[in-house]
């Protein structure tokens, strides 16, 4: 409600719940007796009692329109416009605004006020939508008064199978406060339906996934990374293979969001890890329309398709972070997206030399997809602190570690020829002595994560020998 709707003269905005407002009740009577005073009451239309011109502002429209942050506030309106105001109780200021002397002589000179109900965290966002002119571009879905809002989301096929947080207007508005990006900005066309994926749509799905607003920059970066053409998210959704998008977070944002890169880093239990990956998959599902049984044709899938996100432990690593390996400046927050399957363990509790341990890693890596399927694969190695220690103490660089693994996963063709080991899969005959590499030249990536105890690392298998999806990285922007 604009100030013009108020009569010229003095306006006091109060609430009964504020002790200072109660304290100044006699002053309000003094001002009413001296001339024009209109009182806006935010919480109780009967307060102040017995006064003639009290306006019920329990809907807060007028307080919001006046930009009231504290009660009591005394304003002077002249020709429909506010000319001056006093905030809280300060005798001198109130006398200045009102032009009335000897106000509240029995009261202390000064008392701070209380927060206006318009700033109450429980109502401020609702007011911003109702009164602040914020509009959503998305369709609004009204659900019935007796409809369970969680069941309503299941009924509309918005869920990945787990309950979602209903994306109410207030929750989506709050989520949008986590980014400076325009809600209407289109991040790209999300396959497989190629629908425009706006920041607002991302926010609605981030709400459903259980994200906090401050996760939004990471979720947006993850969406941008899957929309990068080399990632080929359409194909990642559609494939009969196991893969889903794996989100790896680097840089200061990991600490800011309290992400887990330590004990159980690839597992459950951390809100940011669990919900950021889920938000991305809900965007793919709901905006892009990529649903299991529809375009998603995965034969078995993987639990990671509910959402797979973790952070790298950069602080305790002697090797450069994945993001730096991917060309991002050190100290810059970034997300890296990899089309990967589930977690395969590398258990080696006895190797104490890098040579032995590298051979263990290579032996396990050679089993990726099939021990006789070679050529063009990619994988991520998640190396644990105890395994990294062996390489650190021997002075191995990350570059050397990867080079040794590439070498150890390059084998003579005859070792994996068709029929060898009594298995049909394998390589067709080649010239004697020919060798074949398991992985693409730039297809092995290494990330440091995990608890400090346990000589266990992990392989996140890539998709297929045809390298149908390439790893992508995006810097996180506010």
């Amino acid at each position: 409600m604009p100030t013009q709707a108020l009569p010229d003269g003095l306006v006091a905005v109060v609430k009964r719940d504020c002790p200072t407002c109660v304290l100044v009740e006699p002053v309000l009577r003094q001002l009413a007796a001296a001339g024009t005073l209109c009182v806006l009451t935010q919480d109780d239309p009967t307060f102040p009692e017995g006064m003639a011109s009290v306006i019920d502002d329990t809907g807060l429209e007028r307080s919001y329109g006046l930009g009231i942050e504290t009660v009591p506030t005394l304003l002077r309106i002249e020709q429909g416009r506010e000319t001056t105001r006093a905030v809280g109780w300060h005798r001198g200021e109130w006398e200045g605004v009102s032009g009335v002397r000897a106000l509240g002589v029995d009261l202390p000179d000064y008392r701070p006020g209380c927060g206006s109900l318009t700033t109450d965290p429980n109502t401020a966002d609702e007011l911003a939508i109702r009164l602040g002119g914020f509009t959503f571009k998305s369709r609004k879905v009204e659900i019935g008064s007796h409809e369970d809002e969680h069941e309503a989301c299941f009924d509309r096929d918005w869920s990945d199978g787990l309950p979602v947080v209903p994306p109410t207007a207030v929750r989506v508005y709050r989520m949008l406060q986590g980014t400076r990006r325009d809600p209407k900005e289109i991040l790209g066309l999300m396959p497989p339906d190629y629908e425009p994926c706006t920041v607002e749509k991302v926010a609605a799905n981030a709400v459903m996934a259980g994200c906090r607003p401050e996760y939004m920059p990471v979720v947006i970066a993850a969406v941008e990374a899957v929309l990068d053409e080399p990632f080929s998210i359409h194909a990642v959704v559609a494939t009969t293979m196991f893969v889903g998008p794996i989100v790896i977070v680097n840089g200061p944002v990991r600490k800011a969001l309290g992400m887990n890169s330590g004990v159980n880093a690839l597992g459950q239990g951390n809100r940011a890890n669990s919900t950021i990956g889920r938000a991305l998959q809900l965007v793919v599902r709901n905006v892009g329309g990529g649903k299991p049984g529809g375009v998603d044709r995965s034969t078995l899938g993987t639990p990671g398709k509910l959402g797979f996100c973790f952070a790298e432990n950069e602080e305790d690593s002697c090797w450069e972070p994945l993001s730096v390996e991917r060309g991002v400046a050190p100290g810059t927050s970034a997300v890296t997206l990899f089309a990967g399957a589930g977690v395969r363990g590398i258990v080696d509790q006895t190797s104490r030399t890098p040579e032995s341990l590298a051979r263990s890693f290579a032996a396990c890596l050679n089993g990726t997809l099939h021990p006789k399927l070679f050529g063009g694969l990619d994988s991520i190695v998640v190396i644990s602190p105890e395994h990294l220690r062996v390489f650190r103490e021997a002075g191995w660089s990350k570059r050397r570690f990867i080079a040794e693994l590439m070498d150890l996963t390059t084998v003579p063709v005859e070792d994996i020829a068709i029929g060898v080991g009594g298995m049909t899969p394998g390589m067709p005959p080649r010239e004697p002595g020919a060798k074949v590499a398991k992985f693409r030249q730039d297809g092995l990536y290494v990330v440091h994560a995990g608890g400090i105890a346990g000589m266990f690392s992990a392989i996140l298998d890539g998709w297929s020998p045809s390298s149908s999806s390439r790893i992508t990285t995006r810097v996180v922007r506010d």
Binding site: I143, W158, P167, A169, A204, H234, S466
Partner: protein, 96 residues
């Protein structure tokens, strides 16, 4: 949230209303028309499609060949537009 008020949710979907595309009618005869053969890039798909092209040629049917960038990538728009403009029927091969 009290149970006796209406709740407004923000639609999280692409608001995509699926429109079922109409298929062109199946040609009564292949005589005199051009058949597009699209290789989607699956292993050994070319073996099947090469053989098909030979058999069509034997019957005097004109064949035009097209290819997707790979099995996991959609046909580029230009390919789709060319097929639409240059052919009256299409065969899309799958193999493994």
């Amino acid at each position: 949230m009290t149970m006796n008020t209406t709740t407004t949710l923000i639609d999280p979907t692409g608001e995509h209303a699926a429109v079922k595309a109409k298929k062109s009618p199946r040609p009564a005869t292949l005589d005199g028309i051009t058949v597009g053969v699209l290789d989607i890039g699956k292993a050994r798909g070319d073996v099947f499609l090469d053989r098909l092209a030979v058999r069509f040629a034997e019957r005097g049917i004109k064949v035009k060949r097209y290819a997707k960038p790979g099995p996991s990538r959609p046909a580029v728009i230009e390919t789709r537009q060319r097929m639409l403009a240059e052919t009256e029927a299409a065969i899309i091969g799958l193999a493994d």
